[in-house]
């Protein structure tokens, strides 16, 4: 069995205390919540933090509040993915989120893994998520581990490890906001703006900042939404490409006009990709218009270019974006 590096564990009970612990011990302190992402990475010696700050006892992270006046659902970052997938409000208002949370890995992992952890899931790559022996075998790692080269884009200077969270594309498609607590206080920003295209540091979280909650605006109009995950197996696997879809309609009928649209793809590079220019292409059209599925899937196909950073042929994965997007839209009509 692989061994973990040695570290200390702190178990604060408040967010403020956790922020303080991170700040006082940085660099060298990392957060741990469910541990399903960081522990395997530590077993691969991708990092050797001296201190893990556990969020397990921070009760305020485990709240879920529906605020009808503000029109939003606030999900604590410490909720498990199993809780998200099963929560009645999530299922009622955001079925695509219930679906994506329920498709992460396998039941035992969803019972441990948290929403905050999944949003901050480290980027993944077939050249990174390997043991030290393996990384030594390919000649000493890569940009994201101990090496100096990228094996995905050999001429590249920037890491293109893949954003592999199931929930991030869905939450962006739903217009979610991320709430951060840090040494400089609290701030909130659109989740869409939280990520950037560098696999080494793919979020805009400042040092010492902790994801406290995600708020998602409650739908104000009838809506059709879905999440597509392509992976080889129906359980355990990370997505090899993923697409989140949201269509707001002017009436609760499938032939109603589209008033707003969002399509977000994952597992391309380090950043989720919002398919753009869709407003001009489909807003105003009837959702039942068969050309909608065609237009949206072609737009997703032409704008999303998977890389050989995760297993399976990128051209095939790209094709799946087109086919599965078209089918998902057709199935919602």
């Amino acid at each position: 069995m692989l061994r973990l590096p040695q570290f200390q564990v702190a178990t604060p009970t408040t967010l403020a205390e956790a922020v303080d612990l991170l700040q006082r011990n940085s660099p060298g302190a990392r957060l741990i919540s469910g541990g399903t992402d960081i522990l395997p990475n530590l077993k691969h010696f991708l990092d050797q933090p001296g201190l893990l700050v556990s969020l397990a006892r921070v009760a305020e992270l485990r709240r879920i509040d529906r605020d009808d006046r503000a029109g939003r659902l606030v999900l604590g970052a410490g909720l498990t993915l199993a809780e998200i997938a099963q929560h009645p409000d999530v299922r009622a208002y955001f079925p695509s989120l219930a679906k994506s949370a329920g498709l992460v890995a396998a039941p035992t992992i969803r019972n441990m893994a948290t929403l905050g952890g999944n949003i901050n899931l480290d980027t993944r790559c077939r050249y990174v998520n390997q043991t030290e022996l393996w990384r030594g075998g390919i000649g000493g790692g890569c940009l994201k581990s101990e090496g100096q080269v990228c094996h995905v884009v050999p001429t590249g200077r920037r890491c293109v490890a893949a954003m592999s969270s199931d929930n991030v594309p869905v939450l962006i498609s739903l217009g979610a906001t991320i709430h951060l607590h840090g040494p400089a206080g609290q701030r909130a920003l659109p989740l869409a703006d939280y990520f950037h295209a560098d696999g080494l540091r793919h979020t805009h979280a400042a040092p010492g900042e902790i994801t406290a909650a995600i708020s998602v605006p409650l739908p104000t109009s009838p809506r059709r939404c879905d999440y597509i995950k392509w992976s080889v197996r129906q359980s355990i696997d990370f997505p090899l490409v993923s697409v989140a879809l949201r269509f707001d309609l002017d009436a609760d009928r499938s032939d109603a006009a589209i008033t707003d649209v969002s399509v977000v793809a994952g597992v391309l590079g380090a950043k989720p990709r919002e398919v753009n220019k869709l407003d001009e292409l489909v807003v105003g059209r009837s959702f039942a218009d068969p050309s909608v599925a065609q237009i949206v899937s072609e737009a997703a196909y032409s704008q999303c270019k998977p890389l050989p950073n995760v297993p399976y042929d990128p051209a095939y994965r790209r094709e799946m974006i087109r086919v599965l997007t078209r089918r998902a839209i057709a199935a919602m009509v």
């Binding site: 692989l2 061994r3 998520n129 393996w134 990370f238 297993p311 095939y316 094709e319 086919v323 089918r327």
Partner: protein
């Protein structure tokens, strides 16, 4: 599972029912459903696997592994490691200069590399330390000076190189040729030339590995009396015992090998591995117990899984579908060491000559050394790959000749009590019934002609051995032996060298003893796989245990039964054949009200005969094989037969193959314990399904020969959600060589699951998948290729009248 069939499984008998023997039945335990003897400790999580064993003063060992696929070792400097506090000893190849190999003719590996490493992951040095972290720190402190050599990842490229410098295996005598076998039976060229149809095909079977959940683990201790005890997760205690004695230069009587409960093996633990030698040597050096548990990555690099095989087949047929001749050329990618490779090379041809009659046959198989982890035996050793090729060849012939694929197979059935073209004697044969069972259960005749484009049914058949006639090292002693003792409390103790690897062999022994001596299963204690306490058995491989160890056990049990019955008969003054032992009693068959407890019966017998102990042994019949060089390899006392019928749904836009159902009929001679047989049928079929659709043991030549993904995340085996509905049906054609007629069930039902799926894909969408796995990108590419040919008018549309309107 087989709820709609006449062999519906009875529910497990309650304890009370088991006490009430049905005297009208010929047997009271054989063929029933039993709880495995170790089920409760497994299910409750209290079974003590090797890694659960802890001894006072225990040290932990780790092995330093090569990052190079091929390199000379110039120097190893372990001084910094030895200087670390808590490090007790370091060993290298210099401590293990005697080579070993499970096949005595090909000892071509060392416990640790002596002068060179031959694949990424080859062991270089091992340390023993106070804990695992210290051992890992010590590995980091060892300095190895390598001189990298050109590495070969393609078997044909490796074979083309004959110079010493590029010879991979340090003990190889013929460059990178590991083994070549060419055997010809009859005039193949004339038979194929005279055929009315010749089907030619090229097939590639990607390597796959076992994926047992328990990683290899071994623990060694030198006892105060000087005996070296090695506990190991092995399926071949006896061969491990022999090789330990050889490499460590210790007399065998000073070594004891114990196999604790094992968490899966599937052929992946059927030879000695570096860790067993390392813990033994380190225990001797340090005087303390030493344990080593592989990481999952180490399991992948130790491998010994299924060989990648590149196969070229030419098969001749008459117009009515009869095979006229089979001509096969096969390249086996062996990896860096021989392992069982000599046998695999023979098996790749020798095991193909049933269930169909071949009037003429030639196979030409070449195994190459490459700079990859060594391949070896995996469930269905050697014959899963050629079976894949042959069964697709038959399907292609059926299509070309317009004959129903099941009918074509019936016409070629070799039948019972015959000799194959390679001179193996086949006894009982239930293949025809297997075909009929899957045909009717699946609704083949009515459904196949009507399933729409995209959906299909495919069939395939196969055979497998129930043990090999000749042991791995030549000797005239029995292949299996069992010792049984009865005691005055009414219990039976069974001592057997056989390795229970989850296949249920301990339960099988308990069932036989229970059947013969009338005591229920829970009163039978089976002690197995301890070389100090048990008679020698050769181990769990080649599906040999039920037939061989079962026969040995039956012999001992029947000897005891006769003594007990005589003693009871004497006291009741009736003939001995009126005494029945069943239901924890001895009864008078003609007056069942006259009975005594088993304990009383055993006491009477003990008073008459002294302590009740008997041995039984089994050796194979020597008239089953061919009279030519290699003619013994693959010959078996009895052969099982299987038919698979798969139903698939192929998504023509994504290439995803959804295997909905597989019907499996397997002739196991006689099911001694019904649920275990069904479990083996389902487990085998599942394993084949995984190899067909997802599994790939790939070494990446573009990245210096590392494994493409040595973890269970990247080596994808199907989950519950991916697995089709499996309908297992037991067919019983009892064989006179098996105990109660029993033959094997653990490996045969894997073979034809793979080609059945390939043939179903063809039926569904008209594309041939001649290489595994049938991954979505590969299926999609094949579909597009066919569509293009159809558009160009080069091939007719497949199922043109059964397509949805839009797609026509």
């Amino acid at each position: 599972m087989a709820a709609d069939t006449p062999t519906q499984s009875p529910e497990p008998a309650s304890a009370a029912e088991a006490e009430r023997p049905d005297l009208t039945r010929e047997t009271w335990q054989i063929g029933k459903v039993h709880r495995k003897v170790d089920a409760m400790e497994r299910m409750r999580g209290v079974a003590r696997y090797t890694d659960d064993l802890k001894l006072p003063g225990l040290l932990h060992a780790k092995i330093l592994r090569s990052p190079h696929a091929h390199a000379k070792i110039r120097r190893i400097d372990a001084s910094a490691a030895l200087a670390l506090p808590g490090v007790f000893a370091v060993v290298t190849g210099q401590d293990f200069k005697i080579p070993y190999g499970v096949i005595p003719w090909t000892p071509d590996e060392n416990a640790l590399a002596v002068h060179k490493v031959c694949h990424v992951g080859d062991g270089v040095a091992a340390v023993a330390a106070i804990d695992e972290d210290t051992a890992n720190a010590a590995l980091r402190a060892i300095v190895v000076d390598y001189e990298p050599l050109r590495a070969f990842f393609d078997p044909e490229e490796a074979l083309a190189t004959r110079d010493r410098e590029h010879t991979i295996n340090p003990y190889a005598r013929k460059g990178n040729l590991s083994k070549h076998v060419l055997l010809e039976f009859g005039d193949v060229d004339a038979q194929i030339a005279g055929a009315e149809l010749v089907v030619e095909g090229e097939y590639f079977f990607e390597g796959t590995t076992h994926g047992a959940i328990e990683p290899h683990c071994a623990l060694a201790q030198v006892e105060p009396n000087g005996v070296l005890t090695v506990w190991s997760a092995t399926q071949v205690s006896h061969y491990l015992h022999r090789e330990l004695a050889k490499v460590l230069e210790l007399p065998p009587h000073r070594i004891r090998v114990i196999q604790p409960p094992i968490g899966g093996a599937f052929g992946g633990k059927s030879e000695p591995f570096d860790l067993e030698f390392c813990v033994a040597k380190l225990a001797i050096k340090t005087g303390r117990p030493v344990k080593l548990l592989y990481t999952r990555e180490e399991v992948f690099y130790s491998h010994r899984g299924r060989h990648p095989m590149k196969m070229k087949y030419r098969t001749g047929f008459t117009a009515d579908g009869k095979i006229t001749g089979v001509d096969a050329r096969t390249i086996l990618d062996g990896g860096a060491y021989s392992s069982f490779g000599l046998v695999t090379t023979y098996y790749s041809g020798q095991l193909l000559c049933a269930p169909y009659r071949f009037p003429a046959y030639r196979f030409d198989s070449t195994r190459a050394y490459t700079n990859k982890p060594a391949c070896g035996p995996k469930r269905g050793h050697g014959s899963v790959q050629p079976r894949f090729a042959l069964e697709i060849q038959l399907d292609k012939a059926a299509v070309a000749l317009g004959i129903d694929p099941i009918e074509l197979r019936r016409r070629n059935d070799i039948g019972a009590d015959v000799a194959t073209v390679n001179e193996f004697r086949v006894g009982s044969n239930g293949f025809q019934e297997c075909l009929s069972r899957v045909e009717s259960a699946s609704g083949w005749r009515a459904r196949r002609p009507t399933l729409p484009f995209g959906q299909g049914l495919g069939v395939a058949g196969s055979t497998y051995i129930s043990g090999t006639n000749y042991p791995i090292y030549p000797n005239d002693m029995p292949q299996a032996a069992v010792q049984i003792c009865l005691d005055r409390s009414g219990r039976a103790r069974v001592f057997s060298g056989a390795n229970d690897i989850g296949q249920g062999s301990n339960t099988m022994l308990a069932v036989i003893v229970s059947e013969e001596l009338g005591v229920p299963l829970e009163d039978v204690r089976v002690l197995s796989a301890d070389t100090d306490l048990c008679p020698v058995d050769l181990g769990a491989y080649s599906s040999r245990i039920t037939l061989m160890v079962g026969n040995a056990c039956l012999e001992a049990a029947q000897r005891l039964r006769r003594r007990v019955c005589r003693s009871v008969a004497q006291r009741w003054q009736i003939p001995a054949n009126r005494v029945v032992l069943a239901g924890r009693m001895a009864l008078d068959r003609e007056d069942p009200a006259r009975n005594v407890s088993s304990a009383q019966a055993f006491q009477w017998a003990e008073a008459d005969h002294g302590l009740l102990g008997e041995v039984g042994s089994y050796n194979t019949p020597k008239d089953r094989h061919g009279d030519y060089r290699g003619g013994t390899i693959g010959a078996s006392p009895a052969y099982s037969f299987t038919a698979h019928l798969a139903e698939v749904d192929v998504d023509t836009e994504t290439g995803v193959v959804h295997v909905k159902k597989i019907w499996i009929a397997h002739d196991c001679g006689r099911a001694l314990s019904r649920k275990i047989v069904e479990g083996q049928i389902e487990g085998s079929t599942y394993m084949g399904f995984g190899e067909a659709l997802m599994e790939e043991h790939l070494i990446d030549p573009a990245h210096r020969g590392v494994h493409a993904g040595p973890s269970f995340l990247d080596y994808r085996m199907p989950t519950f959600l991916d697995t089709p509905e499996l309908h297992a049906m037991i067919v019983e054609a009892p064989d006179k060589n098996g105990p109660y007629g029993a033959k094997e069930a653990g490996e045969g039902p894997l073979h034809s699951s793979i080609p059945a799926i390939a043939n179903a894909i063809y039926d569904a969408v008209g594309v041939r998948l001649d290489r595994i796995p049938f991954s979505p990108p590969r299926v999609l590419a094949a579909l597009r290729e066919r569509a293009q040919l159809e558009e160009q008018g080069l091939v007719p549309a497949h199922k043109p009248d059964r397509r949805p309107r839009s797609a026509r």
